[in-house]
Assembly symmetry: C2
């Protein structure tokens, strides 16, 4: 939940003056996205989401994200298409901050995903990977495996503060991940943050759309599946739901079958994906000032997922 | 900005099962209202706001508020009409909390009200006072003048903490307000929280609607004007904009002319209205835990307004 920027009537009117979208008739801050401020904007011609980029998203990366959204929409993928102003620009400024207007997508996110949701989400993810093929811009995964050790070195104390002994455990994990990390898997544009909040379903439960592409980058497709398994297939008691995980992968394979190398890699990728979210939550935990408007997410949720993956997942075992 | 309650898909579906509104197609927490959680709900048949009552609003008061909203809508006033379920109930429960569904009202609030907005807002307030006539339920103003001294007695230390010497100044104010507080003014249903956030305008700048009636009560109509003057007519530098104030009252009188006694009372009522918001902000300031998701509003903003009103407003003076 976050709305960091207040937009005045005059600022909104000036912003809309660059577009042919009519006048604003409703404008509401929405509790969606932690990194940016999002507003639901209704004009006399339609409904839109105005995103004001606040933190983490580097200004130089914004054209990559917006052009990707345009590419995906032009290739039939249901993501929010950026709206160009009269001069053709999608990246704009409001209140001195970068901002963009995208179409409003209807759809509900699944707050407690079922196995059926996981299957649909998996299919939507494969669709995304296929739709992104040929996108010409490149963005390295700046939260990928090569960056974890250096990220952790800044937050060892915070880890010890959460749980004594944790820093040594994470050091060992990082070493094992570095040794075992798979290379050469099929790669391309990945979402990298395909959490239940960022996926919409239709009333009949079918996949509707994906949003919030502000971690998108180039990496292994199977790593995106691993992030998704961690985000969708753990129960609130910390147990891993293997039925949901298999459904997610089966849904994925409706559109894009996995190679044997990808299947073999998923357990270690899932462990690495748990590490990535543990580390960024740890960093946010240590750096969020008291009294901030956003409560940081609990790093220990991902430390528990990491512990599950240390034991090794067996998704495709005999008799599975 | 506030969304305190997370609603799962199943909870939403069960809630909607009591209505004839079709299925949910979009559901977004909105950054509106500090006291309650608000969600924009779109179904296959229309758009609605779901309010989950969290704090301050006492459960026993909710029928007063919801019946008032129904009354106002039935009398042609543009406020959000509660939607009754199949059994005729407007006050419902979701996640064990009281909740209600109301129609979605389009309109933009004025983040920086102009003199023209003040005129329109004034007219909308008078319309509300007239539309509320005859509403049969009663609710005393539990934040009215008789309650201020006792409220302040609990927060004297917080006032001293904000500004040394402030507690004695407030004590003197409270004594003067108690002596001078006008009685017997025309009274009825007042909004009591008619801030710019709670008033919508059409694209042409005309008054569109008022929302958030959860402080509504019985009190003097002119006290509601006084609350409104404080909320709309101060500049960000702390100065009182007499032109905006006169426009607001002129707009009001388009619908409901003020009696001489009401005009004479407005300066002391405005001082009291500043005291009321100073005191509740002071109470929230002292009681908001570090790390809360909502940043309390600055009590000193209203202490500065109080200081302006100590000098006495002259709204209707000779040559005005």
């Amino acid at each position: 939940m976050a709305v960091y920027t207040d937009i005045t009537d005059d600022e909104l009117a000036a912003f809309l003056g660059d577009y042919d979208l009519g006048q604003a008739v409703a404008f509401k801050g929405i509790a969606e996205g932690v990194e940016n401020s999002n507003f639901l904007l209704e004009t006399t011609t339609g409904r839109f989401i105005l995103t004001v980029y606040e933190r983490r998203a580097k200004p130089e990366d914004l054209p990559y994200f917006l052009d990707l959204l345009t590419w995906l929409a032009d290739h039939g993928y249901p993501s929010a298409k950026p709206i160009a102003d009269r001069s053709g620009a999608t990246l704009k400024t409001i209140r001195g901050k970068p901002a963009a207007l995208v179409e409003f997508l209807p759809g509900l996110s699944a707050r407690r995903p079922t196995v059926a949701h996981c299957r649909e989400a998996g299919e939507g993810l494969a669709w995304l990977h296929l739709a992104g093929e040929g996108y010409p811009a490149r963005r390295a995964n700046d939260l990928g495996q090569p960056h974890w050790a250096s990220l952790f070195s800044k937050h060892r104390k915070d880890a010890e503060g959460l749980k004594p002994g944790l820093a040594a455990t994470i050091d060992k994990d990082l070493a094992e991940l570095a040794l075992a990390w798979p290379r050469g898997l099929p790669s391309g544009v990945i979402h990298a943050d395909y959490f239940p909040d960022n996926v919409f379903f239709k009333p009949d439960g079918k996949f509707a759309a994906a949003i919030d592409f502000y971690f998108a980058c180039d990496d292994a497709y199977a790593y995106d599946i691993a992030v998704t398994l961690n985000a969708w297939c753990f129960e609130s008691d910390g147990s891993f739901n293997i039925t949901a995980a298999r459904a997610l992968i089966a849904g994925y394979e409706r559109r894009r079958p996995l190679s044997p190398a990808e299947r073999d890699a998923i357990p270690i990728l899932a462990r690495g994906a748990a590490m990535r979210f543990f580390l960024t939550r740890l960093a946010d935990w240590g750096s969020t000032p008291a009294g901030a408007l956003v409560r940081p997410k609990d790093p220990l949720e991902y430390e528990r997922k990491l512990a599950v993956h240390r034991e090794g997942l067996s998704l495709f075992g005999a008799g599975a």
